[in-house]
């Protein structure tokens, strides 16, 4: 063992690494937002009256959950241009993260929706509210509250999964780290450092979710 640690390249690359963190957080937050939208929309379609829509959602969920994310992101990256949509790597990564996280979110949120007592829905209908309003105003918030821990876990996972976006050179921490490592060959120092940075970002996201939970889900229940 005559490997001497040299954090010089890491220290001089620190501003870039921090920008990489910002990139990762950006991917994570936009990916989560898209995933949440897909999750909620997917749950509505998953239980709609139109059979074709139900099958579409089920197939989508199965497809995403049974294939590797790396393959999905390459697929989005190389398949979209074939249908005329040309996105640069970062938006491509957001789309892929949103689709992937969305599929898992559908399953999680659906569990929450099913946990809502049917008396709640009936009370809404009896008051004259339409099905969509019943979902939006009566079912959704308690349903999200019920699955909040799983949803948080899934979204932390999504945050870490952003590193796979380095495969298409999206702007995020792992890509930045690869560049520094390529120039300096200081693999251990570079990856050791970003390990800690990912840990810190997970922690931040977790705290952010705790704050959101205080804001939206802290109503008292029996």
């Amino acid at each position: 063992m005559n490997y001497t640690l040299d954090f010089g390249p890491v220290i001089s690359g620190l501003p870039d690494l921090l920008k990489g963190c910002a990139g990762t957080l950006f991917l994570a937050v936009t990916g989560m937002t898209l995933a949440l939208a897909i999750g909620i929309g997917g749950v509505v379609l998953r239980d709609s009256n139109v059979k074709a829509l139900r099958i579409l959602v089920i197939s989508f969920v199965e497809l995403i959950r049974n294939t590797p994310f790396l393959v999905q992101i390459y697929f989005v990256f190389f398949a979209l241009p074939l249908v005329g949509i040309r996105l640069s790597p970062t938006p491509t990564a957001i789309v892929a993260l949103g689709l992937n996280g969305g599929a898992y979110a559908i399953e999680i949120i659906r569990g929450g929706v099913q946990s809502i007592h049917k008396g709640q829905i009936e009370a809404g209908l009896a008051l004259g509210l339409h099905k969509t309003d019943v979902f939006r105003f009566i079912v959704l918030r308690p349903a999200l509250r019920a699955v909040y821990p799983s949803l948080t876990g899934q979204f932390i996972m999504l945050t870490l999964t952003t590193s796979i976006a380095s495969a298409i050179a999206a702007y995020e921490l792992t890509s930045v780290a690869k560049l520094i490592e390529n120039e300096s060959f200081r693999s251990f120092e570079v990856y050791g450092t970003i390990t800690l940075l990912y840990l810190a970002m997970s922690w931040i996201i977790m705290k952010a979710f705790a704050v959101l939970s205080m804001r939206y889900f802290s109503y008292p229940v029996k």
Binding site: H117, G119, Q120, E122, A123, G124, L125, A126, L127, G128, L129, H130, D133, F137, I138, R141, P142, R145, F217, Y219, P220, V221, K222
Partner: protein, 253 residues
């Protein structure tokens, strides 16, 4: 609340209604007329179809046969008819079914805003009026879980009243309550009856029935077996099933 206008046509008509849950025949040839301002108490043994019957009135359940007309609107499964009927029919459930994530006030303003199109100020004014009326105005900012069962049920009544319905349906509104809270809810219902509300109540509170009901309807196995004024029904039930049922109820109370 304005008194119900004097109109001769019944507010609710059920004619030859049959309902099946799959193979199970839950309502058999039900005929009912409820006049405007009338108070009906519906009773019968467990599983006799009381809940099913009142849930057909606001189309929480669809029927396979027969005709249901509410306030001149024929419930024909069309979304328009269902919407129109639900606007005029309030319902109170055994398990309150308040929305846990909304304050008492928000529980009361949601439907008037979304369905009646009131703005927030109007909806809140209406809500406060009815919350006062069920004597719970000071709890408007609380969440359901912070209230007792009796208070929750009174909020549920106020919430339904905020839609200014023409008829109120009650499905065993006091059976989930601790005994000491039954009275506050019954008193609220008695007040409502005094003010002229048309009411269809599934309840086994025979004191309430005696005091308030114009008619008691007894059903068993999905059929209406007896219909009479409360004094007649309680003193001299005709049908043997009604006699057995009253015997059991009185033994419990």
């Amino acid at each position: 609340m304005p008194a119900q206008p004097e109109r001769a046509d019944p507010l609710i008509t059920m004619e030859g209604v049959d309902k099946w849950y799959g193979e199970f025949h839950a309502l058999r040839g039900v005929n009912i007329e409820v006049r405007r301002g009338e108070k009906i108490v519906l009773c019968g043994p467990s599983g006799s179809g009381k809940s099913t019957l009142i849930r057909c009135i606001n189309h929480l359940e669809a029927v396979q046969k027969g005709r249901i007309v509410v306030d001149g609107i024929s419930l024909d499964d069309s979304a328009r008819a269902v919407d129109a009927v639900r606007r005029e029919v309030g319902m109170v459930f055994q398990s309150f079914n308040l929305f846990p994530h909304m304050t008492v006030l928000q529980n009361c303003t949601l439907a008037p805003m979304r369905v009646r199109g009131l703005n927030q100020a109007e909806a809140e004014a209406t809500a406060r009026k009815y919350l006062e009326r069920v004597r719970i105005g000071e709890q408007a900012a609380k969440y359901p879980a912070q209230l007792s069962g009796g208070q929750q049920q009174r909020v549920a009544i106020a919430r339904a009243l905020c839609m200014e319905p023409k008829v109120m349906l009650f499905d065993e509104p006091t059976s989930a309550l601790d005994p000491e809270m039954v009275k506050e809810v019954l008193d609220t219902m008695i007040g409502l009856a005094r003010d002229g509300m048309t009411m269809v109540c599934v309840t086994h509170e025979m004191g309430f029935a005696r005091q308030v009901a114009d008619r008691v309807i007894f059903m068993a196995d999905g059929e209406i077996l007896e219909e009479a004024a409360p004094e007649t029904f309680f003193k001299n039930p005709q049908h043997p099933r009604a006699r057995t049922f009253l015997g059991e109820i009185l033994a419990h109370h």
